[in-house]
């Protein structure tokens, strides 16, 4: 018993948020130019027009192809992209002679959005990606290791994480993170039961069986290879962290992350002991002033952020060009300088919201592959932001990763847009209404189908849920207020809310209940009360139960 909640499309919200983000970005562009030269550049409307048009086209395609996709993801991403364009334009104007990389970045934005649109057209259902886990994995590893190849791989600023074909350089890790996330997700969906089998117990932790340790060892060695041969701690952290996290989600065994963290720490420590470039990075992190010339960039980045202070110098009024590579690695420092601690924090929170929207999708999706894919993509994104912004602000040793959507560079932008497209396809599949009676609904009764988990011991309710039959009944009202009142079953008033809160036929125990949302922030897709035990063991219910 319970009811089916169907999400609204919320494309209007997306459009409003998108326009809001555009106002911020275009305003930033105007401020930069007014502060630097006192006037808008001739032909400013071309740049602004292109930016606005590209965004609106993408929005139109989302409306058409994936109308149920998460309404916040694209506006957030496009705002970050706009802020990146503004900062790159600002750094162009601050360089002598004036550069024109913002125009190029705008072109890359167009290309990236084209790729985004292409993904939406080609990928109706992300489950097709699940078919060839081993091939995908192999492809991902090949892409990841490409910078180690002679001829095309090359080292830049101490990290060998680039390949160069003709005049174009490319960071394969950006693409590899998507491919490997897909590969891990499809592999783990197959193998998760086996991997979850307990092996020996050590220090109170259930270790996996030795024979199951194979994949984690392979991945551990791969990330050590990245650390040692590509000389980049961030990339290494990114992939190993991703893999361990996905193992954990798939198997639900805490021994994996504990083991993984220990392995990574040991590997990183050994790398620090034996490899000079790791020591250089660590020394630059702990005490950059000990070697002025070697740590010039990080010192200048620090100076910049200190100069900006709490609220920044204002766009166009700081000196971010003093920091080498301010458009790439150190764009966070440039933002910290001109928008201050407050502005940098706002950017970090924007990233955080993207990650949270992705993880929400993972929570609400109803099949393991979608869950793993959405969680993996979100987490790898979070790790990347953590590694690069943490590196720039001296929380971690500096890495050569890009700041997603903000820093200059085509490959990073294209890859991240493709990733968001993939995530949005997942959200669309998750949020769209289930075709009525397409399949028996009892499969949804498993704990993987819900935001709220159900006690594992509960016997499966074989009763199919006749969705269509219940459509005419009145929505159930609960006093819980969710952040999206229309989406949650907790809608206080059903009059204007088009929520389809569909009570299923009553069971014997609770005649008219709705399952309250586990926390007010969560957004249940299909809340199906699961019989007699409303209190699930690991999900708290803050008081949404009907009297």
């Amino acid at each position: 018993m319970g009811e089916v909640v169907v999400f609204r499309k919320r494309r209007g919200v997306e459009l409003v948020m998108l326009l809001l983000g555009m106002v911020v970005a275009v305003g930033g562009y105007a401020l930069v130019n007014l502060n630097i030269s006192g006037e808008l550049p001739s032909g400013w409307y071309w740049g602004v027009g292109c930016y606005v048009l590209i965004g609106l086209v993408a929005h139109a395609v989302i409306r058409w192809r994936i109308p149920y996709a998460d309404p916040l993801l694209f506006p957030l991403v496009y705002l970050l992209n706009g802020i990146g364009l503004v900062m790159i334009n600002r750094l162009d104007l601050g360089s002598r002679p004036v550069m024109h990389s913002a125009e190029l970045q705008l072109l890359w934005t167009a290309i990236s959005v084209a790729v985004f649109v292409l993904v939406l057209f080609l990928l109706r259902d992300h489950h097709v990606l699940q078919r060839f886990p081993y091939l995908t994995f192999l492809a991902g590893m090949l892409i990841l290791m490409m910078p180690l190849l002679p001829l095309i791989g090359f080292e830049n600023h101490g990290a060998r994480i680039w390949i160069k074909i003709g005049p174009y350089s490319f960071q394969p890790a950006e693409l590899a993170k998507i491919v490997l996330t897909v590969a891990f997700a499809s592999y783990l969906v197959e193998k998760r039961e086996v991997l979850a089998l307990a092996g020996a117990r050590f220090l109170g932790i259930d270790l996996p069986r030795p024979r199951d340790l194979g994949p984690i060892i392979v991945m551990w060695l791969a990330s050590l290879a990245v650390l040692i041969y590509q000389k980049d701690l961030g990339t290494s952290l990114l992939f190993f962290g991703l893999f361990v996290m996905m193992l954990y989600v798939a198997t639900e065994r805490p021994s994996w992350p504990i083991l993984g963290t220990a392995l990574f720490a040991a590997g990183a420590f050994a790398g620090w002991l034996f490899y000079g470039h790791v020591q250089v990075r660590v020394a630059a992190w702990l005490d950059p002033f000990a070697n002025w010339d070697q740590n010039y960039q990080i010192i200048q980045g620090q100076f910049g952020m200190a100069w900006g202070g709490l609220f920044g110098t204002g766009l166009g009024l700081g000196r971010p060009n003093l920091t080498p590579l301010a458009k790439n690695d150190f764009i966070a420092a440039a933002i910290g300088e001109e928008l201050g601690v407050a502005g940098l924090m706002a950017i970090i929170v924007l990233y955080g919201v993207i990650v949270m929207r992705g993880l929400r999708t993972a929570l609400t999706s109803n099949d393991p592959f979608s869950k793993l894919l959405a969680a993996g993509l979100s987490f790898v994104f979070a790790l990347q932001v953590f590694a690069i912004i943490g590196g720039v602000t001296r929380l971690l040793p500096l890495t050569g990763l890009t700041t997603p959507f903000i820093s200059q560079g085509g490959s990073s932008l294209v890859a991240n847009y493709a990733m968001i497209a993939l995530l949005m396809v997942v959200t669309h599949r998750v949020r769209r209404p289930t075709p009525p009676a397409a399949e028996p609904q009892q499969s949804l009764a498993h704990d993987t189908t819900q935001v709220i988990s159900t006690p594992p011991s509960r016997p499966a309710d074989p009763q199919p849920v006749p969705v269509g039959a219940a459509a005419a009944t009145t929505p159930v009202r609960t006093p819980v207020s969710a952040d999206e009142p229309t989406a949650a079953i907790a809608t206080p008033s059903g009059a204007d809310a088009p929520t389809m809160a569909v009570p299923t036929p009553s069971g014997p125990d609770e005649p008219t209940t709705a399952i309250p949302t586990p926390s007010s922030a969560d957004e249940p897709t299909t809340a199906i009360p699961t019989g007699g035990v409303p209190d699930s063991p690991d999900d708290t219910r803050p008081g949404g139960r009907l009297p």
């Binding site: 989600v249 202070g309 709490l310 000196r319 970090i348 869950k371 932001v385």
Partner: protein, 471 residues
């Protein structure tokens, strides 16, 4: 799978939180030290990009800021660059600043605590902040006359108002053009810096206050003051015959007969007589007298100055040499101008100063210098006797070239040629009654025979030119 995803979400939240906390902590814990780092170009550049106030001589700016179209918005300019360089100093992007540009840097840039209210008003009204103007005590006539009279000679001229201590002229030669260092063309600036620092003539050294030299016979004024204090009179007879320094074979030859009065010995600059007198008075009395005139203290706080010295460790023959301005005695031209000024000012040494007032951009006075007494060098009656003796030097002695018709001028020549290798230092210290001024002229390379009385020949006419310029 939802449990692990929730925990992953918590980890992602913790990572975000760690970034936020780290940014805040960096701001709170590191900002001040980073902004105080001397290698932080953002901070030094900001000082360079401010609308600095002007340094004024009379109603003329000798250092001013004009709008500039390059990256810095403002360009520092020195209209009479070489003439006032020893006072203004330079303000350079690469090489910092010196003299008034340095010591009054906070006021000029508008960052001084006295300008706090002005900054608030500027912030509230949106006015572009502008630094304060520095009004110097310099007199353009005296400065130009001193510079012209000194010409190409290496040396320094300092003119003081004896009643207040206000510095009317401060010339150091050779000088430099601060515009060359203030230019925004960095390679030009670097070239100029290299040339100036490598030059053996040391053009950036302010000889008037920052260097000390053996004062030669001008020190005899101080010995005379000590003698008067010890009970001598201007007509006391002194033994002026050759003087073999006790315990040595060094003989100070007589250059003015065998007996002279104290006044006449000063007028003729009798070395033997003063060496003997100095030994008789003793090193302590001489040092005490010198310190009363300001030796041992840094006399000028407005720009850098060094203390003149009378050595602490000194024996009897050395005292004899010190009495005629030799041995280890060394004084700055400013110090010797203060000696002349004190004689003119009834024995009262006034604190010398260069900055009359600091005015904000809207001409409100932020600070005003009040003349203050530094020390009492002699009694008023001894000062009157010394004045008579110094008038004697000009009227009928070695300083006759400083005579200005219709003006009472007192002076004392000096030639420091203790070292036979270099050309002698020529000194002349003097005061005049109307105009009321004390002048010290120091010429480092008086191109003439070591035996000649260089002070009278080379330095005295320069002092005369300064006094005449002020009439």
């Amino acid at each position: 799978m939802n449990g692990p995803i929730r925990r992953v979400a918590v980890v992602a939240m913790l990572m975000t939180l760690a970034l936020l906390v780290n940014v805040s902590v960096s701001y709170l814990a590191r900002q001040d030290s980073l902004n105080a780092n001397s290698q932080n170009r953002r901070v030094t550049d900001a000082a360079f990009a401010q609308d600095r106030g002007a340094i004024m001589v009379g109603n003329t700016a000798v250092a001013e800021t004009v709008a500039s179209k390059d990256q810095f918005k403002f360009q520092r300019r020195y209209p009479q660059s070489e003439l006032y360089a020893p006072v203004t100093g330079y303000f350079s992007y690469l090489f910092g600043s010196s003299e008034l540009e340095q010591s009054y840097g906070a006021q000029l840039s508008g960052n001084d605590s006295s300008q706090f209210v002005n900054r608030l008003i500027d912030l509230a009204t949106g006015a572009k902040p502008k630094g304060a103007n520095i009004q110097t005590t310099l007199d353009a006539r005296a400065q130009r006359a001193a510079s012209n009279a000194l010409g190409k000679l290496k040396g320094a001229v300092v003119a003081l108002n004896p009643k207040t201590g206000a510095i009317l002229a401060m010339v150091s030669s050779p000088t430099f053009d601060p515009n060359d260092l203030a230019t925004h063309n960095m390679s030009d600036s670097q070239k100029a810096w290299a040339a100036l620092t490598k030059s053996s003539a040391k053009p950036m050294s302010n000889r008037a206050t920052r260097e000390i030299f053996p004062p030669g016979s001008t020190f005899k004024v101080i010995v005379s003051a000590a003698a008067l204090d010890a009970g001598y009179e201007p007509d006391s007879e002194l033994d002026a015959s050759s003087y073999k320094l006790p315990g040595t074979n060094t003989v100070i030859a007589s250059n003015c007969g065998s007996r002279q009065t104290l006044a006449r010995a000063l007028a003729l600059s009798c070395n033997a007589a003063f060496a003997r007198l100095g030994v008789k008075l003793g090193a302590d009395a001489l040092r005490n007298q010198a310190e009363k005139f300001g030796f041992g203290t840094k006399p000028l706080s407005d720009i850098g100055s060094v203390a003149s010295r009378f050595p602490d460790q000194i024996d009897v023959p050395q005292t004899g040499l010190a009495s005629i301005g030799g041995f280890d005695v060394a004084a700055s031209p400013l110090q010797m101008a203060m000696v002349a000024a004190a004689v003119r000012n009834d024995g009262v040494v006034m604190q010398p100063y260069l900055v009359e007032s600091v005015r904000s951009a809207d001409l409100q006075v932020l600070s005003q210098t009040r003349p203050s007494q530094l020390s009492l060098a002699t009694s008023a009656s001894d000062a009157a006797k010394l004045r008579q003796m110094m008038v004697g030097v000009v009227e009928g002695g070695t300083g006759w070239r400083a005579k200005v018709p219709g003006v009472t001028v007192g002076g004392k020549t000096g030639t420091a040629n203790s070292d036979n290798k270099r050309t002698p230092y020529a000194w002349f210290i003097s005061w005049a009654e109307d105009p009321d001024v004390a002048v010290c002229v120091f010429v480092q390379d008086a191109e003439m025979e070591a035996t000649d009385v260089a002070g009278g020949r080379v330095a005295a006419p320069i002092a005369k030119a300064v006094i005449e310029a002020l009439r």
